[in-house]
């Protein structure tokens, strides 16, 4: 390849939330090469296998090229004008017939801030707060739990700040597979002598490097953390000064901890008491301790409780607001933090303004040029599917999500989507969900449009346009602008570019006030809160005070509650689910990438040797995994890395979420993907 003609453009990796950068090489309108961007502040050039394959989906032969309309069992090609007009008319008809709450919208953590901002703006102008996205399925409990305790539902310290920690407590995160570049900074901390302890039901690659492993039972996190706090409080290892000046609620926590018995914690969690004690002492007595978590904490009916427990642990020991001391929920998508910040959630407007907050809601309405916005909390992702199945939801507009693979209990989701009057899917590929749609709209992907993306550490980075979209595909922001105009809100969508939209965001969301189109384009962007144009950004939150109204950290005692499903005679094993390093979410991108699919080609279930032997199952054999919701056939991997009684399946392939539970956390409405009672037998096929 002649490299002389290549124009190298700094770009943001489109996969997980770490926010790595690379150089995309453009030659005559095509993306032809990728090079490592050593100057990038987070990744220093490093990329995981998915990042290395980021270009493979861009000019992919499967890309959607034209708007499609369902005709019988198939689709026919239609013009953009016809598609937009018919969809707009049907949405207005449904609103007329059934009211605005018969409509729902799914935004996307794969799309830019500007696009998510527009999607929630359009939904609310049309008259409903039923706009949500996959954050509901991954870190909704983090947003809720940290919002309540610290007043800001986001990671407190940058990923790179891990090097400043003396003790790193990882619970329910397998960052070595899910956020590999985070392992760079943890590794550096370990070489400087930091202590790494990992709580996980499985011996994941993250555990390989741990000094202490707490192999807990799925769903026992609150019990474990309460046990740790009991040891800390009783041993006098609390940070009294921090508690006195910066927190409230310790007394209520003390009362709860008096009812906690370590022997019970041991029994519930399966972790021996001396290991819990060792973990508690390391965490409390280190100069600076950090807690990292992901879906192992959040995807439970106690997800919010789990997060609040971790906040409690940090608050009583004062491990917040300093370099190396913080709470680090590692987020899974390139813009899931941003989609939340933009208010693509059914309970909050941009800037986390509650939809029920009369005054601030009115302020946003005024900025949008309307007098009022819908006041009732809308439907969340899983509630949308329930409402679709029960006939209360008539229209669902999906931007870049694939619920038929990624939502829990997908047979129920399928019933809902089959039942609905209007399903519109706007995506880059014909996903499993798009196959069910009435209209399929071809969208541009990250390289074919510009916009800002907010990484897990609140870092807002700009992705410039690199190449033109294929066929007639359009950037999501253009499609939504057009839908907004055609549904009667032309004045609210005057935007000619993503920069115009970001300029409006600057005025609506205070934390993004100084993240202007001009400033955000610098390499590495800016970290919010960045309230004005002179502000340098805020890498570490809560240094002086917390984001709560009184500025204090609210210690919020959380008693242990068991998972929604416990093993029984019919379903004696506990199924837990998670990610693989070579795949990404519903797999619509990575299962189309040869370099990744060839290394991890099919769905499997990890099972312990004891459980396999009991069922006469050999390694590599086809088995049937069943829960009360359905069954899936896949290959058995007999491994020493799961404890007896626990089995694991990755969720990147169709099939896993036939099995998972849609029981919800009462606050965050996140489903309990991480615990399902199941049985495994040899496949009858």
């Amino acid at each position: 390849m002649n490299q002389q003609h290549i124009n190298w453009v700094p770009s943001v990796c489109p996969f997980c939330g770490v926010g790595c950068g690379f150089l995309a090489g453009v030659d005559r309108g095509r993306l032809v090469a990728l090079e490592y961007l050593i100057e990038h502040p987070v990744s220093e050039g490093a990329l995981c296998p998915k990042g290395n394959a980021a270009l493979d989906t861009v000019h992919h032969a499967d890309r959607l090229l034209h708007p499609l309309k369902r005709v019988g069992d198939g689709f026919e090609r239609i013009s953009w004008d016809q598609a937009l007009q018919e969809i707009a008319e049907r949405i207005l008809e449904i609103r007329e017939a059934h009211g605005p709450n018969a409509l729902a919208f799914l935004a996307s953590a794969k799309c830019s801030n500007e696009e998510n901002y527009l999607m929630q703006k359009w939904a609310r102008l049309v008259g409903t707060n039923s706009v949500d996205h996959c954050a509901r399925l991954c870190h909704a409990s983090t947003v809720a739990g940290l919002g309540k305790t610290l007043g800001a539902g986001a990671m407190t310290n940058p990923v790179t700040d891990t090097v400043n920690a003396d003790c790193i407590f990882v619970i329910g995160s397998n960052y070595a597979e899910c956020h590999p570049v985070a392992a760079r900074w943890v590794g550096d901390a370990l070489e400087q002598g930091a202590f790494l302890m990992v709580a996980d039901p499985r011996v994941t690659p993250t555990v390989w490097h741990a000094d202490l492993c707490l192999q807990l039972r799925p769903g026992s996190d609150v019990a474990l953390i309460n046990g740790m706090m009991k040891i800390i409080v009783e041993a006098g290892l609390c940070n009294e000064e921090f508690i006195g000046s910066r927190t409230s609620g310790l007394e209520q926590l003390r009362e709860l901890l008096q009812t906690v018995e370590l022997s019970e914690v041991e029994e519930i969690s399966g972790v021996p008491a001396d290991a819990i004690e060792e973990a508690a002492r390391h965490y409390a007595t280190a100069e600076a301790s950090v807690i990292m978590w992901s879906m192992g904490i959040t995807q439970h009916i106690t997800g919010t409780d789990n997060v609040m427990s971790l906040a409690n642990l940090a608050l009583i020991t004062g491990h917040l607001g300093r370099p190396g001391a913080g709470l680090m929920p590692l987020r899974g998508q390139s813009n899931v933090q941003g989609a939340c910040d933009m208010g693509a959630l059914s309970n909050v407007l941009p800037g986390y303004v509650a939809v029920t907050d009369f005054e601030r809601r009115r302020q946003i309405a005024a900025k949008w040029g309307v007098t009022e916005l819908p006041t009732a909390r809308g439907l969340t992702v899983v509630e949308m599917m329930n409402a679709a199945a029960s006939g209360d939801l008539h229209s669902l507009y999906v931007m870049g999500e694939n619920p038929i693979v990624s939502d829990p209990n997908v047979q129920h989701v399928r019933q809902g989507l089959d039942n609905i009057d209007l399903l519109v899917v706007q995506d880059i590929f014909m996903t499993e969900t798009a196959e069910l749609a009435d209209y399929v709209l071809p969208a541009a992907l990250w390289a074919e449009k510009s916009g800002s993306y907010t990484s897990t550490e609140r870092r807002v980075q700009w992705q410039p346009t690199l190449v033109a979209p294929p066929g007639e595909a359009l950037p999501d922001w253009q499609i939504i602008c057009e839908m907004g105009r055609r549904t009667g809100y032309a004045d609210c969508f005057p935007f000619a570019s993503p920069g115009d939209i970001l300029t409006e965001i600057n005025t609506v969301s205070p934390a993004y006030g100084g993240i202007t189109p001009e400033r955000v384009q610098a390499l590495g962007g800016l970290i919010w809160p960045c309230p004005d144009e002179d502000h340098p950004g805020t890498p570490i939150l809560h240094q002086e005070k917390f984001g709560t109204e009184d500025g204090l950290g609210h210690i919020t005692p959380t008693p242990y509650r068991p998972p929604a499903e416990t093993p029984d005679e019919q379903y004696p094993l506990t199924l837990t689910t998670g990610r693989l390093v070579l795949h990404y979410n519903s797999g619509s991108m990575t299962r189309r990438t040869k370099a990744l699919l060839s290394r991890e080609p099919r769905l499997f279930v990890e099972i312990s040797a004891a459980d396999a032997a009991e069922r006469g199952i050999e390694d590599g054999e086809l088995v049937r995994v069943a829960t009360c919701r359905g069954y899936t056939d896949c290959v058995a991997r007999v491994v020493p890395t799961v404890a007896a009684g626990v089995v694991f399946m990755p969720f990147h392939f169709s099939g896993t979420n036939i099995l998972t539970s849609d029981a919800l956390d009462p606050t965050a409405k996140i489903p309990e993907y991480k615990v399902a009672a199941c049985q495994i037998e040899k496949s009858p096929r």
Partner: protein, 178 residues
């Protein structure tokens, strides 16, 4: 003299190096990460040995040691005899799919030529694979706590360290919970 350095303690079996190598070399990776006992990953590629049995074995002098210490196969000279494949102590030389031409890691010669480090080095999320001056690498390797120096092959070849731990991670992890 520049050398490769593998710090096995930092490998997370993400296989980014494989995908990067494959991307850099027309769809064929020359580095392979093997997972032993489900918990011990080992990236294996040409070690660019100081004593290079492949060079000795080649009957047509198709394998050259460059001034930078890289052991390079000149594929246009290869006669597909396969002797280097047999000679290699690490098993990292393979004949291509057609069974014709011997192929292995060339240390990304095309990248080194314009001042860029090998792809596997730059992409490695954890700094498990490094490349640099021998003395500097050795100083780095010696400074790491709890690591055993497995190989440091003269002033060429590959420096390797591995974790100095008595039992595998699985035992360490599960011994407590039984």
């Amino acid at each position: 003299m520049n050398v490769l350095y593998l710090d096995l303690n930092r490998c997370i079996y993400c296989r980014a190096c494989e995908v990067a190598c494959e991307r850099e070399h027309g769809g064929v990776s020359r580095i392979f990460v093997t997972l032993l006992d489900w918990t011990e990953p080992v990236p294996v590629a040409c070690r660019h040995c100081e004593k290079h049995p492949c060079v000795e074995a080649c009957p047509v002098d198709a394998i050259e040691v460059t001034d930078e210490g890289a052991v390079i196969i000149h594929t246009n000279k290869c006669i597909s005899c396969g002797l280097c494949v047999i000679a290699c102590p690490f098993g990292v030389i393979e004949l291509d799919k057609a069974g014709k031409i011997a192929d292995k890691c060339d240390l990304c010669a095309h990248r080194l030529a314009d001042g860029r480090q090998p792809a596997c080095v730059l992409t490695c999320p954890t700094r498990c694979i490094q490349y640099g001056e021998f003395e500097e690498i050795m100083a780095r390797a010696r400074a790491k706590p709890g690591l055993t120096l497995v190989s440091a092959v003269g002033e060429t070849g590959t420096v390797v360290t591995m974790p100095d731990r008595p039992a595998g991670a699985v035992q360490k992890a599960t011994s407590g919970s039984d």
